[in-house]
């Protein structure tokens, strides 16, 4: 059996650890089998809405400036691990941001999955369909 979780990120980056921890915990779903019976799984996906979409901005120089991994780095790891990443189109439009402004893939480290810019209605459907919602 597979249980499905959706992490919904509304928080801005850096001011708190919220968005970073959402990503690192979502990624941890990949190693959950050691605790579960054979065939059981927990599958996590991630949606960015509202101010949360600003976490996806590319070229974050947090390592250069503060010596810490940028949120973008965790996002890239989640794509490398084939996780579903949804970014709300209406919120991007509100900020005037397009795909060109965002970290959309992990191509340079061998990832195959891309982040998906989707209408909010798609994210709402995902919220309906998963077993548990994890907001921040």
């Amino acid at each position: 059996m597979t249980k499905r979780l959706l992490f919904v990120v509304r928080a801005l980056p850096y001011k708190t650890e919220a968005s970073r921890l959402a990503l690192t915990h979502a990624i941890a779903s990949q190693s959950v089998e050691i605790y579960l019976a054979d065939g059981d799984l927990v599958e996590a996906s991630i949606a960015f809405i509202g101010d949360g979409v600003l976490n996806c901005h590319k070229n974050q120089q947090a390592m250069k400036q503060y010596g810490i991994t940028p949120i973008e780095g965790h996002l890239k790891n989640s794509l490398l691990l084939d996780m579903k990443v949804l970014i709300c189109k209406e919120d991007l439009d509100n900020y005037g941001l397009t795909e060109a402004d965002l970290l959309m893939d992990a191509d340079d480290i061998g990832g195959e999955v891309k982040a998906q810019i989707v209408p909010y209605s798609e994210i709402m459907k995902e919220m309906e369909s998963v077993d548990h919602l994890l907001f921040c």
């Binding site: 249980k3 979780l5 992490f7 928080a11 708190t16 650890e17 919220a18 921890l21 959402a22 690192t24 915990h25 990624i27 941890a28 779903s29 990949q30 190693s31 959950v32 050691i34 605790y35 579960l36 059981d40 927990v42 996590a44 077993d131 548990h132 919602l133 994890l134 907001f135 921040c136």
Partner: protein, 120 residues
């Protein structure tokens, strides 16, 4: 009777969010439910042993210890979050476990409800 998994993340000591989560656990366990309690981010402060009880500050150690004796309550802190704050294994509150983040994800597998307190 059900199982509630609570994840408390960046909640400040000094806010009452951690207090909320502990009191909610207490009420749930009293009604016969099981509670798994995950501490990550700044909430790992709750896992630090030797906190002095001042009246100006929440002091949740006593309630946590009572909950642990019921057998229907588990509390686990994120190991990396704790180490990053200088809390080592020997500094951990008695009965509080330490694991990597997948413990929390695994706990949600058979949880009836998940309360994820992911912000402050």
């Amino acid at each position: 009777m059900g199982k509630l998994t609570i994840g408390c993340f960046s909640s400040l000591v000094g806010s009452l969010s951690l207090d909320f989560a502990v009191k909610l656990s207490e009420a749930a366990v009293k009604k016969g439910h099981k509670v798994d309690f995950w501490l990550s981010g700044n909430a790992t402060m709750l896992s630090k042993a030797g906190q002095k009880a001042f009246k100006d500050y929440s002091h949740l150690e006593k309630t946590v210890k009572e909950l642990l004796t019921t057998g229907n309550f588990q509390i686990t802190a994120c190991e990396a979050c704790a180490e990053a704050r200088g809390y080592h294994k020997e500094d951990t509150l008695e009965g509080c476990k330490r694991h990597s983040m997948d413990w929390y994800l695994a706990s949600t597998f058979d949880a009836d409800r998940v309360l994820h307190m992911g912000g402050d």
